[in-house]
């Protein structure tokens, strides 16, 4: 078992690294568990677009190295570990890795990102690493002066195809749409149309990849005519979207039916103390900037959570004397009056009773943990245990007998 961390981050892409920066900067003991080297998908693209302040020409691997160095400079540990199992239910979370180690923490931030989607075309699996690739940066230099095919026509596909023209002799893009229609942004589309090394096959899908040990040709099917044509090529690059790396999270946190982690806008998952960030969660735009943003929010929310939990523990659960925990909200007039009443009651008991106020507008977690539905409500604690709940309008006659009983049994 490891020492106790404040925050364990699973995944060291932009989401995990940003969470690391925010976490360790708040002086929380923060570790990133990352399978292989950090950087994520962003480190697999040479031409990184759209990250503000880093115009065209910024290289993905370089930006990600800078993010990792930034996190490390504030004290984030980055360990080469693949997470295979987690126990998230308790107050202390346990994270298990393929190497057989166990790490424990108070908070877990899940940032496992996504992997390239496969189409399971005939030959796709067989020729993986034999001409079939999902990463231009990794494999482009093999294809100097050779011919390659790109499948897909979104931002990633077209931008990676343009990058491939720096190496390959020709880059043939297979597009399912009518001539001239691409799913990518206009700037990249115009750049691609103007590139003499790029050739287009419209209204078509890849049917099969063939070869003897390595890719030698592909079969392309025209979806309008049903006609199948053969094209000689040395490589096939797939950029047809991604799937979340959340297989290991099934049954641990709530996922949607496509496997993305469900969070609220504080990045809280269905499990208290567990957050998610980046491409692996349900969201609208999957880019480096939104991944980093998620990571920042998750770590910030986690810090607040830890502080609130710590305060509650100190003031209520570890208290030596009876504690009245009052749940109120600035929007509920009645609860403000109730607080005043409780203050006066507490005053009468002097040192022997303590009053702790929980603003449910800011902190709903404690309220929901104790099943508080009505505001105002009062919970009486003795030696860390909730022994009575009084919901709705609070009056002295109801509360005082309880307190008297508690104090006399001391």
């Amino acid at each position: 078992m490891s020492e106790l961390y404040d925050i364990i981050i699973v995944g060291g892409g932009p989401a995990g690294l940003a969470a690391g920066i925010y976490g360790s900067r708040s002086r929380l003991k923060t570790v990133i568990l990352q399978k292989g080297s950090p950087g994520g998908q962003a480190a697999t693209t040479e031409e990184l677009e759209n990250y503000p302040g880093f115009p065209r020409g910024t290289k993905g691997p370089e930006l990600m190295k800078a993010m990792a160095d930034h996190a490390i400079s504030f004290g984030t540990e980055i360990l080469n570990e693949e997470v295979v199992d987690l126990d998230l239910d308790g107050e202390i979370k346990v994270v298990k890795t393929r190497s057989g180690k166990e790490y424990q923490s108070k908070i877990v931030i899940l940032a496992p990102g996504a992997s390239p989607r496969t189409l399971n075309i005939k030959g796709e699996q067989e020729f993986r690493g034999k001409g079939v690739s999902y990463c231009a940066t990794c494999d482009a230099d093999f294809f100097e002066d050779l011919d390659v095919v790109v499948v897909g026509n979104g931002d990633a596909a077209i931008e990676e195809a343009i990058y491939l023209t720096k190496f390959a002799e020709t880059v043939t893009i297979i597009v399912i749409h009518d001539e001239g229609i691409l799913d990518c942004n206009k700037v990249s589309a115009e750049k691609a149309f103007a590139n003499p090394k790029i050739k287009w096959v419209w209204n078509s899908v890849l049917e099969e990849i063939q070869g003897d040990g390595i890719v030698e040709r592909v079969l392309i099917k025209n979806i309008k005519t049903g006609e199948i044509s053969e094209l000689e090529t040395n490589g096939v690059f797939f950029f047809v979207g991604t799937v979340p790396n959340t297989e290991f999270l099934k049954g641990k946190v709530k996922l949607d039916d496509r496997g993305y982690i469900i969070t609220n806008d504080k990045m809280e998952t269905s499990v208290p103390g567990v957050y998610a960030a980046g491409d692996a969660r349900v969201k609208y735009l999957r880019q480096v900037i939104t991944a980093a943003s998620d990571g920042a929010i998750a770590a910030f929310a986690a810090e607040k959570y830890l502080a609130e939990e710590e305060t509650f523990k100190e003031q209520v659960l570890k208290a030596e004397k009876p504690v009245m925990v009052a749940f109120w909200s600035p929007q509920v007039e009645e609860s403000i009056a109730a607080i005043a009443k409780l203050e006066s009651i507490a005053g009468k008991f002097g040192e022997s009773v303590k009053l702790v106020k929980v603003d449910t507008y800011r902190n709903q977690r404690v309220a929901s943990r104790y099943g508080i539905k009505e505001i105002p409500s009062l919970l009486l604690f003795n030696r860390g245990e909730a022994i009575a709940k009084i919901a709705g309008s609070l009056n002295e006659e109801m509360i005082v007998p309880y307190l008297n009983a508690l104090i006399t049994t001391e």
Partner: protein, 104 residues
């Protein structure tokens, strides 16, 4: 690990007797650079049982393709000059060692 290229691949690998492990890598391949030190440790551990080589595919593209290597990282196992097994992409050092134990 022995550095092999087009000038010595034939002698060191294809004409070699026994088990030869070739780590195909390139300076641009981050996963390759991550894996290599672990493979180097295996080279020490299995000294005398297998020969370990590394081949920079960026500088020896044609040679790599002639060995039907078109993706990185690739770890290829040769026995008496013939390729008998290969691991490619998402390779872990555990996979490499398991394959080694199968072949030595």
């Amino acid at each position: 690990m022995i550095e092999v290229d087009k000038t010595n691949f034939e002698d060191e690998v294809l004409k070699a007797e026994g088990l030869v492990v070739v780590d195909f890598w390139s300076p641009k391949c981050e996963p390759c650079k991550e894996l290599m030190p672990h493979v180097a440790k295996l080279a020490e551990k299995y000294q005398g049982k297998a020969k370990f080589c590394k081949l920079d595919t960026a500088a020896n593209r044609r040679l790599a393709i002639s060995q039907k290597v078109l993706g990185l990282p690739t770890i290829a196992f040769y026995k008496n000059g013939e390729k008998v097994a290969e691991l490619t992409q998402e390779v872990t050092v555990e996979d490499v060692e398991a394959k080694l134990n199968e072949l030595v």
